[in-house]
């Protein structure tokens, strides 16, 4: 296979044409932003899962006139409680009088005495896997007519939209970063082509193929991009660890991070993020290689 000088030699003078300062610094900034965006995607997904497992699975059941007896001398509240207890896919708990008073406190104040109103019995129900809230509502209505089932799906839908918006925004940010990185590499490669035009034309005239010339550029660009990406990643990780520490109270599904105290950093970030962060320099290098190849080959296509 045709080569120029032995591997690693700067045959086209690219060390001067493609500076080892500007491109790596720009790529470092891109990878830093990409790492933050990636963390945003994963955090938004984690929030969505958390909300889905929480708000969406919660039902509030109100039983008006809870003490009124129904058939067999059982109260309406007791009938509902018995039905919920016998249903395998739900976990139910009746709110105590103190909890009800706490809920009403914003409207009635702390000094309110005993009420003349007949308050409904309130059950907090958590749906386990496979439970159908509509079917449960029908059964409850049959057991104690007038029972109200309030599902938190409206809130969940809103939270779901919010979570998906956050994810989409973060993904869009990743895409923009990738596009900007592509543009930066293309501009740098074009500058390198302009700077080494004479050398390229000489080597081309001696019989060098497009593949050979593009390969030289792509190797140099990939090295610079990879260097910059490692720099950007090494700056992003401390930032992400700091953010994880700050947001720990809002991410209950992650282990409690005390990364700087117990000496281990791994639990501080989601395992998926740890797995994907090393992919960033590889992806950046791939973008660099492909962009340099395409840019040089497009330029060479203008030669006879």
């Amino acid at each position: 296979m045709a080569t120029l000088r032995p591997r690693g030699s700067d045959d086209l003078g690219l060390r001067r044409a493609l500076s080892d300062r500007l491109l790596p610094l720009l790529v470092a900034a891109m990878v830093f932003l990409a790492a933050l965006a990636l963390a945003g995607v994963i955090a938004a997904a984690s929030l969505a899962r958390h909300w889905q497992g929480g708000a969406a699975a919660l039902l509030t059941i109100q039983v008006p006139q809870p003490d009124r007896p129904i058939a067999a001398g059982q109260s309406r509240a007791a009938a509902v409680a018995a039905l919920l207890e016998s249903t395998p896919s739900v976990a139910a708990r009746r709110l105590s009088a103190a909890e009800l008073a706490g809920i009403l406190r914003p409207w009635l104040g702390t000094d309110a005495g005993p009420l003349a109103l007949d308050l409904p019995a309130v059950f907090e129900v958590r749906l386990l896997g496979g439970a159908d809230p509509r079917r449960l509502g029908s059964r409850l209505a049959a057991a104690a007519p007038g029972t109200l089932v309030e599902q938190n799906s409206v809130w969940f839908d809103r939270l779901g939209v919010l979570a998906r918006s956050l994810q989409a925004s973060a993904l869009l940010a990743l895409l923009v970063v990738a596009l900007v990185a592509t543009a930066v590499v293309a501009v740098a490669t074009r500058a390198g082509l302009a700077a080494r035009r004479d050398a390229i034309e000489i080597v081309y005239g001696l019989g060098a193929t497009d593949r050979l010339i593009a390969g030289h550029f792509a190797r140099r660009v990939t090295l610079l991009v990879f260097t910059g990406a490692l720099l950007g990643l090494s700056l992003a990780i401390p930032m992400l660890l700091g953010l994880a520490t700050i947001t720990a109270p809002f991410t209950p599904d992650l282990p409690t991070p005390a990364p700087f105290m117990n000496g281990t950093l791994l639990p501080a970030l989601p395992p998926l993020l740890w797995a994907l962060l090393p992919v960033l320099p590889v992806t950046a290098s791939l973008i660099g290689w492909l962009t340099a190849q395409a840019t040089v080959r497009f330029w060479l296509a203008g030669l006879p």
């Binding site: 296979m1 045709a2 080569t3 120029l4 000088r5 032995p6 700067d10 045959d11 003078g13 001067r16 004479d198 050398a199 000489i202 080597v203 081309y204 005239g205 001696l206 019989g207 060098a208 193929t209 497009d210 050979l212 296509a301 030669l303 006879p304």
Partner: protein, 224 residues
């Protein structure tokens, strides 16, 4: 070997710099390329070195129809053509050794053979002691010898030279002509553009006379 049929060349929308070029060069032939400045010698050499393609007409070099060939067919053809440029066209960041080695490395020769052949060639052109020098450290004559060494080291089937003796003293010029004659004897087709009538008289051969971008009437004649 080389055949031009009604070949014309223009750069962009400019006027034709070459018109109605019809001639052919047999394998192993030698031609002087003569004409005043602006007559079209350099443009004709650019056509033959595949630096440009003809605007009109058919150009065939070493069996490849250049005007219709795909770009991917041309690198292999270029490696069979040696060129000595008037302005040397050396790579400034490479040593004399690496400049001369370029055609061999592009042809995929083993590095051991490259080293031996390049050292021998540089010795032959009198630059054995300058193999590590870069073009900026060499005189004009030395640079020209490096350019000549680079053009001939791959034993090209077609050798094109634009004023190759322009920066050489008489001794070096005579040695160069001896080298060109030797390569020609071994089967290389040689075309040398020059203004040097004395050189042409000392080395009689057929000539292509260009005038205003055309081959002059009865231009191919035996100089004696």
């Amino acid at each position: 070997m080389v055949r031009l049929d009604d070949v014309g060349l223009r750069y962009g929308d400019g006027p034709y710099v070459l018109q109605d070029m019809n001639f052919d060069l047999a394998p192993g032939s030698f031609r002087w390329l003569l004409g005043a400045s602006g007559a079209g010698k350099t443009s004709l050499l650019r056509l033959l070195t595949l630096a440009v393609r003809p605007t009109v007409g058919r150009l065939t070099i070493l069996g490849v129809q250049v005007d219709t060939a795909s770009r991917s067919d041309l690198p292999k053809l270029r490696r069979q053509i040696g060129t000595v440029f008037q302005d040397f066209r050396l790579l400034g960041h490479l040593s004399a050794f690496d400049n001369v080695a370029l055609p061999l490395r592009l042809a995929g020769r083993p590095e051991g053979q490259v080293r031996a052949d390049v050292a021998e060639m540089l010795r032959w052109v009198g630059l054995a002691g300058r193999i590590d020098a870069h073009p900026a450290q060499l005189s004009g004559g030395e640079q020209q010898r490096v350019a000549i060494a680079r053009a001939v080291i791959g034993r090209p089937a077609l050798l094109l030279a634009d004023e190759p003796t322009g920066n050489l003293d008489d001794v070096q010029a005579a040695r160069l002509m001896q080298l060109l004659a030797e390569l020609n004897r071994l089967g290389t087709t040689v075309v040398v553009a020059t203004h040097n009538e004395a050189l042409v008289r000392r080395h009689p051969a057929r000539a292509l006379h260009l005038q205003d971008g055309r081959l002059r009437e009865q231009a191919e004649r035996q100089l004696a």
